[in-house]
């Protein structure tokens, strides 16, 4: 969608690519801090990115 790789997003957020992948796969729930960073990066709210 944003022509963005997991590696680029990981670097932007200060985590490893494997963490991005684990979040995508639902294997890992990020901390609030990281969740806010992800939401801010895409310019959306946390609810738009994560669902319970």
């Amino acid at each position: 969608m944003h022509d963005l790789t997991q590696e680029a997003l990981a670097n932007e957020l200060g985590v490893t690519r494997q963490t991005i992948l684990a979040i995508e796969k639902g294997k890992y729930d990020p901390s609030l801090d990281l969740a806010f960073k992800i939401a801010r990066y895409f310019g959306v709210t946390i609810e738009d990115v994560f669902s319970p």
Binding site: E7, A8, E12, T19, A22, K25, K27, Y28, L34
Partner: protein, 249 residues
Amino acid sequence: MSMKKAGGCTAGLFHTSLKEEFLSAGAMIRQERPCRKSKILITKCNKHNTYARGQPALISAVLRMFSLEGDPRGRHGDRITEKSVTFITKSQLSYTSGDSMKRTTFYILAGIVGLLEVGAFWLSVELHGPLLIILAFIAGIMLLYLARRKIHDLKEDERAVLINEKAAVRTFQVFWVVFFAISLGDVVLGLGAPGFPRQPRPPNEGLVPLGHIGIVQLLLLFLMIILYVGFRFYYARQYGEWETDEEQD
């Protein structure tokens, strides 16, 4: 400060105060060293995104040098532009303080330290001097600890920290039960032995009992390491350490 040109630059192009700031941040400006040797790790993710990682003070100096935005307080991912990287690369400047290390270098160092520890152990046995191996082991671990802090391509994020924490706590939970059980068994052996409490041991028996205790301690320590590695593996798998997807090569 704006860039004047990308190629053929020298250190003299830098504004004096910025250059001083740059140097005071721990950098060395060299003309014939490749950029990959830099204290700042520059990562080109794609054609648009380039990031620098390194010491916050140094990143801050670079960001100021190129009048770029960034958060020098961040440990990772301070963004710099493609243009500035081109500038740095073509200029063949490197920002070295001589205190960064690659992971592979660290592993080689760890191997060497391990061999030295084996040698120290052998020497300690030969000389009947336990203090030698005790001091050598502590010195080796301290050396490795200091060296590990200087690895610039080691990235530990919150998921890795969580995995380590969970593995450590679970290891402790299992280990103390095993340790307690073995200790209880030992106490029972001691209490049930004929002639308890024992008479004082003759002084010429030396350190043999202590050596036996050391072996038991090492076995328990080995158990602890095995437990930790096992739990580390389990939680790493649980938190997607080896997950793959279509982006994986």
